[in-house]
């Protein structure tokens, strides 16, 4: 353990949130390390299907399969973090935490940080277990694992804070994980420092803390501004949040003084309910969180205490995301502007649809829509009251198991340039392979946590 994390001491542990998604801004994390007085810096960088994508990369090259931005992100904070004894935790290991840990070791050596210790947390990869249970039904659709078996590329269980605490117990300066529950990246160091048992009721407060921090800027005024209605100071220099968590479970959220953004009841409440379904039963590997009695108290400007989180016992099963290939989506776009632009764009869509039929291509789903009118909120209410825009953009997308058919969609949109309605411009096309993700549950007892430590 680093000198800044005395076990059981009555001071709070301060945990910073360095990223809310894989490609998040770089500077706020360094600002937290240099000026935030943090003990731990956690980066959440692994979206639902990213791990399936990375599993495919690893198939192509054994040393791949972790977050491609890991090197750049770690390089930018490691020297400052090591100088101040700030420990780093991240799920940037994705489908290959060991290779990611070795990459961090390489960086540490190159930066002259000899003795840096990096722990890789393993055990989330349960692909073999899933493949031996073809009878399992996906929670979302009820289809069985067996029905898509040959197309499965990954299966990863959401590990909890106990697994992260185990990795921290090795004394590592950096902990690299694959799939873990996002709040666990923050709850993990709290239970490691304060010594909470898995059934300790303070885990509710630690989980709500993790939930508030996991999207970084989304609690400090990011994804919030609405000019004139909900203004945010200096959003171009948004500060990322940290939380102080005391041994008694008290939690306060703050950010570096002078950074952009805001923390108040409004920003905290929006983030508390983000991605939450039943607020009395938010299921995580560490507890079933109940925020129905939660509230926020302003301690100082830009410092909010969260109170009243409660919990039920942690579940006996863990959620597993199963990633599998499911064909292709082909897409094309073309813009129209000026007088009668909407009618020209509609005609363009009709032409593409007829062309695809004439050429004998069929799609599981074909979507023809106008950006500027109906692409985000559909053609329903309040479409009737929407004024006709000056510019619109046709978008055609088709889903199909056949890559050639997918490619044709964008091509037929493109040929509108010389064959379609007047004034079509700024064409674009793309084809992407669909990596679908569905979930099953795995009994906790089937999980084998392993921690591997590397030293620079």
């Amino acid at each position: 353990m680093s000198a800044r994390m005395p076990e059981g001491a009555a001071r709070p542990l301060r945990i910073g949130s360095g990223a809310g998604y894989a490609g998040d801004r770089w500077e706020p994390a360094l600002e937290l390390v240099e000026q935030g007085g943090i003990d731990v810096l956690s980066f959440e960088c692994l979206a639902e299907r990213t791990i399936a994508r990375e599993a495919l990369s690893r198939r192509n090259r054994q040393s791949d399969g972790y977050n491609p931005l890991l090197a750049e992100r770690i390089r930018s904070v490691l020297p400052a973090a090591r100088a101040r004894g700030v420990r780093i935790i991240s799920n940037m290991g994705a489908a290959n935490p060991e290779a990611a840990a070795e990459a961090v070791i390489e960086i540490a050596r190159a930066q002259g940080l000899k003795g840096t210790r990096v722990a890789a947390l393993l055990g989330d990869d349960v692909l073999n277990w899933v493949l031996t249970h073809p009878e399992l039904a996906f929670l979302e659709t009820g289809e069985t694992v067996g029905s898509v078996e040959s197309r499965i590329v990954s299966a990863n269980a959401y590990l909890g804070a106990d697994a992260i605490a185990k990795a921290l117990a090795t004394g590592a300066d950096v902990v690299i994980t694959g799939r873990v529950a996002d709040p666990a990246l923050f709850l993990g160091p709290a239970i490691a420092t304060h010594g909470w048992a898995p059934d300790d009721p303070r885990i509710a407060q630690g989980t709500v803390m993790g939930h508030l921090l996991e999207c970084a800027g989304q609690v400090t005024g990011g994804y919030f501004a609405d000019p004139g209605k909900k203004d945010v100071p200096a959003p171009w220099a948004l500060g990322f949040p940290y939380a102080d968590i005391w041994p008694d479970g008290r939690v306060c959220i703050g950010k570096v003084a002078g950074s952009g953004g805001r923390i108040d009841r409004m920003t905290c409440t929006e983030q508390l309910l983000y991605e939450m379904h039943d607020p009395a039963a938010y299921i995580t590997p560490d507890c079933v969180l109940d925020v129905t009695q939660a509230d926020f108290v302003e301690i100082a400007p830009d410092v909010m205490e969260v109170i009243g989180a409660r919990m039920g016992p942690r579940p006996d099963t863990l959620k597993v995301s199963v990633g599998y290939l499911e064909g292709f989506i082909g897409e094309g776009q073309m813009s129209y502007a000026g007088i009668n632009a909407v009618a020209r764009a509609r005609l363009a869509g009709e032409i593409v649809q007829k062309r695809l039929e004439l050429r004998g291509y069929h799609y599981d789903d074909l979507r023809i829509e106008l950006i500027g009118i109906e692409s985000l909120h559909g053609a329903g209410e309040p479409a009737a009251s929407r004024p006709e825009p000056y510019e619109v953009r046709l978008r055609v997308a088709g889903r199909t198991p056949d890559k050639t058919a997918a490619t044709v969609v964008g091509h037929e949109v493109e040929t509108l340039l010389t064959n379609g309605p007047a004034g079509g411009a700024a064409e674009a096309k793309a084809v992407r392979e669909i990596l679908r993700v569905q979930s099953v549950l795995i009994p906790r007892a089937e999980i084998r946590i392993q921690v591997k430590v590397f030293e620079a």
Binding site: E140, L272, A294, I371, G378, P382, I434
Partner: protein
Amino acid sequence: MSLRVYDLAQSRTGDKGDRINVSVIAYDEDGFRHLGEHLTCERVMQAFAGLAHGPCQRYELPKLRAYNFVIDRALDGGVTRSMRMDIHGKSLSSLMLTIELPELA
């Protein structure tokens, strides 16, 4: 101009699979009561017609003056296979805020 959810509350959308949640957080007690009376799941599903199939469930958080709408089958099969531009449904909080309500008493 008529009263909109926008005038009474803030909102944010989150996604999990093919399900979204849309929070509606009132600015004051009067707004919270008014929303409670008029912003029903039926009213919301009317606005989300063609986008979400439902069912819809509304949860109440009186301490936070908030409602949490959870709507199933709302993302064209989910983030990973949706053909929409907005695969996460992130823009749907803005749709929630356009919903018109009867004037405050």
